[in-house]
């Protein structure tokens, strides 16, 4: 069952319960806001330069689950925010994310992103870099509309951290000396920081105390970390044509994730040679992926990674306790549980 690709309104609560997907529940609860965010995203992709809306349309149609703008809206609602500034900020967060994906595609030369041919495979590297820059600039224009220096400080700092994380990840590529600590630092920067910024925005807009701002920021940070850990396990599960993921892509690209770190740490002499050849030197035969997965199983690398994700899940749930019960809080709790239990 794939994550839904668009805001959808369920006719009644029992339909919703059947879906069983807390992302759907959030889309349902935040339907009107998400519609406004989607309309704003489409509006701000406009440009007199034809390539920009063209490439933008491709990105929009590639969809994605809009998890980051959803979290931005949810955090605002959780804090009872009654204004409208969360709308441009949710769009801004999605633009930052999309710009990062575009630049990441250039970097990784990956051919597939979310089940569609990646923008850079279709248009080449040049437009991907420059349209990414455009989206990134537009994200700052959207932020300015919230008219708050505090908001701008949060999102500009998050952007720097994301870029730092992307560079740091580059340095760990094909590098078997990467430790669990290094790896956690990378995913905290490149993935969890944007979640953390998104969820901090709500209490900032609602003018809550520092305690609540910190709690929701930490919630986003832990949720984002758990999300990435699970993503890194799912990379080794079956192909997912809908998400555009090819099984074992990380292994092929020499991307260090926790399963690799665990398997390499426990490897015997022969296995160490295997990892050096396939992963460090990138000399891979078609059968090597299967062998790698066998080593992951031998050392329970997937289970241990999910265990780690669950420790972040627990910490994330703790932070939600600072907030009063509400349907949004319930949905965030369910989302947090779903992130570590999902199989897609």
């Amino acid at each position: 069952m794939p994550l839904n690709l668009q805001a959808k309104k369920f006719k009644n609560t029992s339909d919703l319960r059947e879906s069983g997907n807390p992302v759907d529940v959030l889309h349902h609860l935040l339907f009107d806001d998400m519609e406004a965010v989607n309309a704003l995203i489409i509006e701000r992709l406009q440009s007199n330069v034809p390539l920009i809306p063209e490439l933008g349309k491709h990105l929009i149609e590639s969809g994605g689950k809009r998890l980051r703008p959803l979290l931005t809206l949810a955090s605002a609602h959780l804090c009872g925010y009654k204004g409208r500034h969360h709308i441009p900020l949710a769009a801004s967060v999605e633009f930052i994310h999309t710009a990062t994906l575009l630049h990441d595609d250039v970097v990784d030369q990956s051919d597939l992103r979310r089940g569609k041919i990646s923008a850079n495979a279709l248009w080449g590297n040049k437009p991907s870099v420059l349209v990414g820059d455009f989206l990134f600039s537009r994200s700052f224009e959207l932020m300015v509309e919230a008219n708050s220096i505090e908001v701008l400080a949060i999102l500009s700092k998050a952007s720097s951290k994301i870029a730092e994380g992307e560079v740091a990840q580059l340095l760990t590529t094909h590098n078997l000396a990467t430790t669990e600590h290094d790896y956690l630092k990378v995913i905290e920067s490149k993935t969890a920081q944007l979640f953390a910024a998104a969820t901090r925005l709500g209490p900032v807009l609602a003018d809550f105390e520092e305690l609540h701002k910190d709690a929701l920021e930490k919630y986003g940070l832990f949720l984002g970390t758990a999300f990435q850990l699970v993503d890194d396990v799912l990379d080794y599960k079956a192909d997912d044509p809908l998400l555009g993921k090819k099984m074992g892509n990380d292994f092929k690209e020499g991307k260090v994730t926790l399963p690799i770190i665990i398997a390499y740490k426990n490897a015997d002499f022969k296995e160490k040679l295997f990892w050096k050849r396939t992963f460090e030197e990138g000399k891979q035969d078609p059968s090597d992926l299967e062998e790698a997965v066998a080593y992951f199983h031998k050392y329970n690398a997937f289970e241990k990674t999910i265990e780690k994700a669950k420790s972040y899940q627990a910490k994330a749930l703790d932070e939600l306790e600072y907030f009063a019960g509400s349907p949004i809080q319930d949905a965030l709790i369910e989302l947090t549980n779903f992130v570590v239990n999902r199989s897609y």
Copy 2:
């Protein structure tokens, strides 16, 4: 005589007059501020991710004339601004410029930038894209320090326009149907917008009336346009190892500039075939550049381009008349004249 690469203090005014370079005069007048800007640039290039300061150091040492931060500082002084916010903003403007250059190097695959091997030739495309993103994010962090939504609106809008201009330029590449109007739009976006934002910042910081903000913004816009027009002529003059420019680089890369537009518009049938082969299809022999330059001379394409630049110079000078006479105003007038009369 190259533009100077660093802030320098002249012992006395006669030394300065000998240099004859108004950029030197501005560096002299704004020496303390420029030192503060340079220190801030170095500080904000720091990161725990080793590749970032390493690549940053390369960029810093490649130097450049720091024209955009100089203009930021000059516009603040011209308006009698007494605060300190122009320092982070000048650094911010330089970071935006440097990020653009880094991404431009990826795009153009040019091997030389300012006389040194370009960052992407040394480190590859990946780090150039990601470190560019880092610089761009840091530029927004610096802007936030000026604590003004108006400032952030100006610079985020300028960033969007620059990115749009870069994409638009991509669409004109190898395209002989590009008109003078198209071309002027492109250079206005990709070059003049950052000049315009830099010079608008001064009256904004000093809390001047809209009239003065608009005047200095237009000054920057016209100056930047004149600057780019002259740059596009200088591309066809001799090699400049210090600036890292190879003669005729634009021709080789299929970059449409005004001399090409003029020569193609006036071309006879045989010449049109020449341009189609060499420029549109990119099939060039070593002797083609010489032939192209001969056509530029035949139709006075360089003179006409410089004439166009001079019309922008005149409009730029008009805008400076809204401001009271001062050494800074004198230096800006001289700079404006220098931009169109320089031979480097």
